[in-house]
């Protein structure tokens, strides 16, 4: 009789393994193995001339690369980009969501328009702005009355903010959708209660609504930071890291180090650093989501 339980349990387990196998085969080959391999590759110094054998240097390459400006400068550029994009992105999304929250005739159309930029990819947005910002033919140069020259994307001060604007615009739709969902999750009774207590308009928005949706704001901030550090397409299509490395963000630096310079060792070290950074951010988010799930269960 225990035999039945036994046989059935074995059969169930066999079925379970068959079901998880495809996913885990892919994870093994394309996630876990390369992750370990990246750590490993980071321990080999690649000689400057192709053909020479790679040399095992262990963790020393990690310390040398991570303290070098070839890593620290891109890290700073990425950080700047995040600072430019994340708070502004959330604020804009929230503003748009607040504007579109009230039921008015025609609101469906506005909502569709506001979320429309999710139909654009990073590449689409970049190409659109690339042409708009072109120093000779672009509309932007015409508006600011400055034709020719290097243009804004060639300007060391303004290139990174310009890239940030492209990211911001491309993310407006997503931010709007996220914030709209958050706003509509706020129970009307609470807002009514606040209104009865005398809080209306902006006061109610900042004192009641914003605290209530703070979990989503936090979530948006974290994924904003994570995706900010993964910025690549905008750079490749708009500036190629220029001018003079002023938009050379971390992932672009990894890409050129690996693809253009064929320096897998250095690139791997930087990839590991990016990984650690993102893990810390993701953990932060998990801890937070966990707590929120907990709250929801308590209710």
């Amino acid at each position: 009789m225990a035999a039945l339980g036994h046989k059935r349990r074995i059969r169930t387990a066999a079925l379970a393994y068959v079901m998880v196998l495809p996913a885990f085969a892919a994870f093994a080959v394309f996630v876990f193995y390369p992750l370990a391999k990246t750590f490993y590759l980071g321990m080999f110094r690649v000689p400057p001339f192709p053909g020479l054998p790679q040399k095992f240097v262990g963790l020393s390459q990690y310390t040398s690369v991570l303290s070098h400006s070839q890593f620290l400068e891109p890290l700073w550029d990425s950080t700047l980009l995040v600072i430019f994009t994340v708070p502004a992105g959330i604020a804009l999304g929230l503003g748009m969501a607040a504007a579109a929250h009230r039921q008015l005739p025609g609101m469906r159309i506005f909502r569709t328009i506001f979320s429309s930029t999710i139909a654009t990819s990073v590449a689409v947005a970049s190409v659109i702005f690339f042409t708009l910002l072109d120093p000779t033919t672009g509309l932007f140069a015409y508006w600011i009355g400055q034709r020719g020259g290097t243009g804004i994307l060639g300007n060391p001060t303004w290139a990174l903010p310009a890239v940030a604007v492209v990211s911001l615009w491309q993310n407006l739709g997503f931010s709007f959708i996220l914030m709209s969902a958050a706003l509509s999750s706020v129970p009307d009774e609470i807002l009514d209660a606040a209104a009865i207590d005398g809080a209306t308009g902006a006061r109610r928005f900042f004192k009641v609504t914003v605290p209530l949706i703070s979990p989503t704001l936090f979530f948006a901030a974290i994924i904003g930071v994570i995706s900010g550090f993964q910025t690549f397409g905008q750079i490749d299509l708009l500036t190629q890291g220029g001018p003079a490395g002023h938009t050379n963000v971390l992932l672009y630096q990894i890409y050129t180090t690996f693809y253009t310079n064929a320096d897998t060792g250095t690139a791997s070290v930087m990839a590991v650093a990016l990984f650690v950074l993102l893990v810390l951010l993701t953990l932060l988010q998990f801890v937070f989501v966990q707590r929120r799930v907990f709250y929801a269960d308590e209710r």
Binding site: A13, Y17, P22, S121, L132, F174, L274
Partner: protein, 273 residues
């Protein structure tokens, strides 16, 4: 303030935002319809009185948008279907079956969420070459056939199913496969829709990976293809603009058709936690 004035102000705000959001798209459309040499004309043309539509067909053929879109469609659809299949199967096992190492494997699943594809490009690039997959469809599809977030979301959603329903099906004579096909999936259609859109968008918008593993127009996805457009001459700018529109169009149509699923897909886990 009287209500009517306030309403008017509200609309004004909405319209201003809409104009700002739409302007880049609008100007792209306008420029796509202008003759190439008119785009740089100043003051700029904001309304094309004599729209020329052949820039689109030129983008399709000369700009190779046709093959790019085809590749993107094949890659995105295949990736989405594969990710749906692997996620649903694994999620079913995690939700309904008991087996040794279940918790460990599930933890590994969650661990993959912390490993963005960008981090592993270097060994993965080598793996693709080792498999002889450089510049082929498998290179664009296979690395993304499994999705940790997909497994996680489907498992959550499957676990909402009452245990009695599973028991009833067992007594009615339904094995796991038929229970999955006849009961679990039909009841989780919204989740399937939301994840399908989510996976499709993710695949469609990829840039770095296809840039790394393809080098011919036949295998470039539309995102990478746009980079090729940037290299066109200044007097062919209308083709760049038309190509950009063509690249964005499929997702725009998707957005209009599946707005609900899209919103659910994008906000899954965000608002509800």
């Amino acid at each position: 303030m009287p209500t009517s004035v306030r309403t008017a102000l509200r609309y004004l705000v909405l319209v201003v935002i809409a104009v700002i959001v739409l302007f880049p798209i609008y100007i792209t459309l306008v420029n796509a319809l202008l003759p190439g040499q008119d785009i740089a004309k100043r003051p700029p043309t904001l309304f094309p009185l004599h729209p020329l539509w052949d820039s689109f067909s030129q983008a399709w053929t000369d700009g190779s948008l046709g093959p790019y879109l085809r590749t993107s469609a094949i890659v995105s659809i295949a990736t989405t279907l594969a990710a749906l299949a692997t996620s649903i199967l694994a999620a079913y096992a995690f939700a309904f079956l008991e087996f040794p190492l279940k918790r460990v494997l599930f933890a590994l699943c969650l661990a993959t969420l912390m490993v963005p594809a960008e981090v592993t490009i270097i060994p993965n690039y080598r793996t693709i070459q080792l498999f002889g997959w450089y510049d082929t469809y498998p290179a664009l599809i296979v690395p993304f056939v499994a999705s940790g977030i997909g497994i996680f979301l489907f498992r959550q959603s499957f676990r909402q199913l009452p245990r009695d329903l599973r028991d009833a099906a067992v007594l009615d004579g339904y094995g796991h496969w038929r229970f999955l096909g006849r009961v679990v999936l039909p009841l989780n259609r919204p989740m399937v829709g939301a994840f399908a859109i989510f996976a499709f968008l993710g695949s469609w918008n990829q840039y770095l990976w296809p840039l790394l593993v393809t080098n011919t127009n036949a295998r470039r996805t539309v995102q990478v293809g746009l980079k090729q457009l940037e290299g066109l001459n200044a007097d062919q700018q209308n083709i760049i603009f038309a190509g950009t529109i063509l690249a964005a169009l499929p997702i725009f149509v998707l957005l209009l058709l599946f707005q609900r699923q899209l919103v659910r897909g994008l906000t899954a886990g965000a608002v509800k936690g």
